[in-house]
Amino acid sequence: VSLGQILSWIAFLAALVAGLAFLAAAGGREGAWQPARIAYRVQWAALLGATAFLWYILFTHQFQFQYVASYSSRAMPARYIYAAFWGGQEGTFLLWALITCTLGLVMMRLKHALTAPAMFFLNLPLIMLGLVTVMRGPFLTFPGGRFPVDGQGLNPLLQDPWMTIHPPVLFTGFSSLVAPFAIAMAGLVRRDYDGWVKVVMPWAVFSLGILATGFIMGGVWAYKVLGWGGYWGWDPVENGSFIPWLSNIALVHGLLVQRVTGSLRRTNFFFAVTSYVLVLYASFLTRSGVLADFSVHSFVNLGLNGFLLSFLFMVMLVGYGMLIFRLRDIPGPPQPLGNFSRESMMWLGQLVFMLMCALITVGMSAPLLTRLVGPASNVQTSYYNLVNAPLAIAMGLLLGIAPLMRWRRQEVRPFVTAALPAVVAALVVTVVAVALGVRDPIPMLVLFGAAFALAANTVVTVRGFRAGWKHGVAYLGHLGAAMLLIGIIASSGYGRSVQVQLPEGQERAALGYRLRFEGMRQDREGKDHAMIAVNAPERRFEALPYMFWSEFNQGYMKKPHIERFITHDIYISPLDMAGADPGAKGVWFEKGETKQIGQVKYTFVDFDRQMGTDLVRVAARMRVEIGGRTVPVRPVLEMNMKTGIPNSIPDYLPGGGSVQIASVDPNTGRVALEVPGMPRSQAGSILAVEVSTKPLINLVWLGAIVMLGSAFMSVARRVLDLKRAEPAKA
């Protein structure tokens, strides 16, 4: 038994003890508080130890551990060995547990009546995760003591600097939604239906920011590395992180309404539970393998479906069960939501988030839903754009209307006066967009809504910051969201794109740019990239997209070239390379075929084959007519079956040139030969690229940064609020 396995057991048992002790403390036994904290800290220390141990066995290449053998290899650079921690599911469960436990450590510091019950509920998922780490953790060794000498390595797609930071951030976001869930549950148990709002606020806003950081990083990675030209692909994995976020953002807005007006109590409990339920549902969908046929991601079924499902059902049962149990006890609003007021607009905003969330959830669950009535089917990614675009119109408008309104009651006339400048600004933007070529009504309306939100929030942000930063941060976030929306519409809908074939050395035109493929070059890491000289009206530049052969994937790994301008990016994405493999370098001969190349006639007679134990040798018997006489030529291709490395041994012509085997096709019995004076066109290769423009892409990044900045400033604000309230209560 390894140290890692022992630590996993300690963590699991400590989680059980801590759970019982937190329960006792929540039940009023002051004496249970101390042991609960100790057990919880032991659990954290054990998880930390297990994490350290996993890195230790990864870095020391202990391939007797199945996990190490599956996700790392000796040849991997250190920074990717570090990332191999979350290369597989078993490791991500440990990471999930560690992050959840660390967040609990922070939560435990708050002296509040809700802390003990909240800690009990936060500890529940830790018991489940502890169990899975013990049963299916990364510390299982190969049975029987036989293990490989080297590991399989990590998919090169994941060997990217972004991958070293992106998964832990996303996981922190995912895990952090346990906090609103736990605090909401504590509120329900304690029948403290308003007091939990202040406690949960910093956590809910933190989740908002950190999850958004996670998928913005994912977006940057997709845009810069994967080269599908976009930053968001509506993949199950992306949707899985997006739906809890939508539910969480609905929660944050509901909490603000409750704090000011005292309404939306039940709704907020519902969203707090739902956010965590969606986290678990998303991890079930993406990890269980039920979507394996429907995604280019390879999901491996670890046989944890039952576990993940019971985890999900347990949280649903506890969460929704408790809410239903208390439903009649929760007092209704002291006064109904104003008809025309900020809170009613925020309530509508919540509804929009919830509808987006529901429609995306339906889309990503399509294979499961359709299986009930017929063959399992999936929706195309266009589904998500179709359903979200109309909702984005409503979102943009509400984003602009709500901040301009007063709480409780807004007179119509002053509102119209306040909104008029923003409406005018939005109209101007829309007219400019139409002049630039926006014709479809839906993007036009989204653009109008977003421009309206941008103008309105610029005004309220400036006004807010004048009154103190705390009053401006939330509006700043809306400003960022509006910019992001405009950037998304422009860059995804109005870029131009064309696919073009670039024969080596020849100039081709695409989108008004002139491109010339100048060949391949190897960088210091041994990765090939294409050199394309681009002559654009903006400037001349050399595009260097990556295009290298990966043994691991048996395919080309590609990375686009992005040339950045203030108003747009030029995006050059390599698609394919024809004639780049060794076979295409030569001239193909059928058996018995004669070809004249230059002044020489070549005839391919037959193969001679020799099979050794681990060496296969193929010789091509050739007859060559050169300078009026016929000579036999016999180039050889050796293949070492152990290493798979071919070795081509040339034969020489009387004039001094050499004949060499480039490739052999055993299926058709053909051979490709490299001979002197081979036609140039056959040796050159053709690079297929997609050239596209991404208008206003910088608004996407700027909007995202502004939004994140606002989110983390809001966390600081809510923590300060909580701190100020704390001594008063104690």
Binding site: A358, P375, Q380, V387, Q499, Q554, Y556, I686
Partner: protein
């Protein structure tokens, strides 16, 4: 009924209508070759490359090949667009498109590649035969 409730109901109704129509428009069932031959809408089929006798024209972005499913049935497929790089080494191919005039016209190809481990196993099998 007041303004905000009416707005909310309108939003929900619009979302349901848009959701249902978009779902029906974009849903592509995963079906067998026999069913694909009978269907008229957008569907997806999967299988493996039946043989090496495919036609690939890089310059014209044209690809035609035969797909074989687990039951051994074969479906001719035509595809116009960017040809996935490692198409002929794929362990499984998903084609999304429609069946027309005796062949399946794919709009999109998803190619799943062998993992490194599998690739080695296959290479060994090839060498011993």
């Amino acid at each position: 009924m007041n303004l905000k409730v009416m707005l909310a109901l309108a939003l929900v109704a619009a979302a349901v209508v848009i959701g249902v129509t978009s779902f029906n428009k974009t849903v592509t069932p995963y079906i067998s070759f026999a069913e694909a031959r009978r269907s008229s809408g957008l569907v997806q089929v999967n299988g493996v490359l039946a043989d090496k006798s495919y036609v690939m024209k890089q310059e014209e972005q044209y690809l035609s090949f035969r797909l074989r499913d687990t039951r051994g049935e074969v479906l001719p497929i035509e595809y116009r667009g960017v040809i996935p790089g490692n198409f002929d080494q794929a362990t499984s191919i998903v084609a999304i498109g429609r069946y027309q005039d005796g062949k399946f016209e794919a709009e999109q190809l998803l190619v799943k590649c062998p993992s490194k481990y599998q690739a080695e196993a296959e290479k060994k099998a090839g060498a011993s035969s």
